[in-house]
Symmetry: C2
Subunit: 254 residues, 2 copies
């Protein structure tokens, strides 16, 4: 049996995975924040990413159901509030803030929420995340959330780059991200503590590293699918949103 | 409530979905059988497709577990025998025949079976199929198998085209497909009978049509992912098989 890593060593290995495999390394992200995407490529990104946003509170509920300590569930519950909002809807939750972005890009709320225009590959990747948090240990489920260690950086690049380079993007439509930065810092610190105290062996720690790799691979696969359909000249799968027909856009001449 | 379709009308609608959305329409398939793929593109296809082959007997076991009639389960059991083989392994099952193909293409059996080189998108699509047959009604689960109505044609194109155009492909390495044609005809006729007698309303029939669309979309997504990574110049996701490094190939200078 291999010796358990110290907390610093373990955290360094987690961060190395992010360095190499997080989707801030993906060409589609680079093109997005450097102003090289067309409005339709940004639309496709926001439309598809909604599928992922939509499952976040669901996967969090699944994880919460598996946490045995009240204190842990209370902490995790904050994540669901972040995305679903409070009952009086003030402040609004992350899902609504995401829909503000897709609306500014011209989509009707109904079209986005129906997910009929999303790429099947996006839906398969998002659903793989749901399956993962149900089928793996709760330790792995929590570890898969650790992409939040890296999200403040990608968010900063994205927001700054998009505001600077696209006149169809305003600060108002990006409020989702201004909330997320603080939330991600709070959540990833807690998750890091949780896996540090819950992982008992080096094997447990390896499972955590693999969980983080899995999560990086699903975020990566979503950008691959977007690039293929809307940039590289691959197919637009039957039924997926097609910039040619402008289905789902409020003002078809936009 | 809409009127139930006659068997002929229903079958016509199912066949129309295949006409439009089955993966024989995908450019990667066209390039494959027309001899335009490199050996590495064929390798990537066979390697990734193993992920799908591997889950076939698993999804069939899940469906069989949900069939309540002994007669139906007996019929369905044949599918599992086709892929897993008999205990004395004669004739060999489909999984072994698939491994004969990947071996001829130069991969070690261990590498293929580990699935470490497969694209995450392939794994997400395959697993989506497993989730589908568990979560939907048994009627939808059976209907999703109806892509077999269309597979004899794609198999004929594939086998003829590949034998004609690639000297690294021999008839022996394609025995998987010669078995599949007869099996697919038998199975799709039975499945068509089953859904015809089980679908009670037009709404049930619509669910069957959507199940077939889902199945087409997962087969399509697998070819999209291959095209992106190995033909269109998209990324090779971190960890996936890379023709540059020839990981997993027995003879690295091949």
């Amino acid at each position: 049996m291999t010796t358990k890593l110290s907390r610093d060593e373990f955290e360094a290995k987690l961060r190395a995975i992010g360095e190499a495999q997080y989707h801030n390394n993906h060409p589609y992200h680079h093109r997005m924040y450097q102003g090289q995407c067309s409005i339709d490529e940004i639309r496709a990104w926001a439309l598809n990413r909604f599928c992922y946003q939509r499952i976040i509170p669901v996967k969090d509920a699944l994880i919460m159901a598996r946490l045995s300590e009240t204190e842990d569930r209370r902490e995790w519950r904050e994540r669901i509030v972040d995305h679903d909002g409070e009952i009086d809807d003030h402040p609004e939750g992350g899902l609504r803030r995401w829909l503000a972005l897709t609306s500014q890009l011209g989509f009707t709320k109904e079209y986005v929420m129906s997910m009929q225009g999303a790429l099947p590959a996006t839906q398969f990747a998002s659903n793989a995340y749901l399956t993962f948090v149900q089928e793996r240990t709760v330790l792995e489920a929590v570890a898969s959330s650790l992409t939040e260690l890296f999200s403040p950086n990608i968010i900063a690049e994205r927001v700054q780059g998009m505001l600077q380079n696209y006149d169809f993007i305003t600060e108002e439509s990006l409020t989702y991200f201004s909330y997320r930065k603080a939330q991600a810092n709070r959540d990833s610190n807690w998750a890091l503590d949780f896996i540090d105290r819950t992982a008992e062996t080096r094997e447990d720690q390896e499972r955590c590293l693999n969980a983080l790799k899995f999560k990086c691979s699903m975020l990566w696969a979503m950008l691959d699918a977007l690039a293929s359909a809307y940039h590289l000249g691959g197919t637009i799968p039957p039924g997926a949103w097609d910039p040619q027909t402008q289905t789902g856009l409020l003002d078809k001449t936009a």
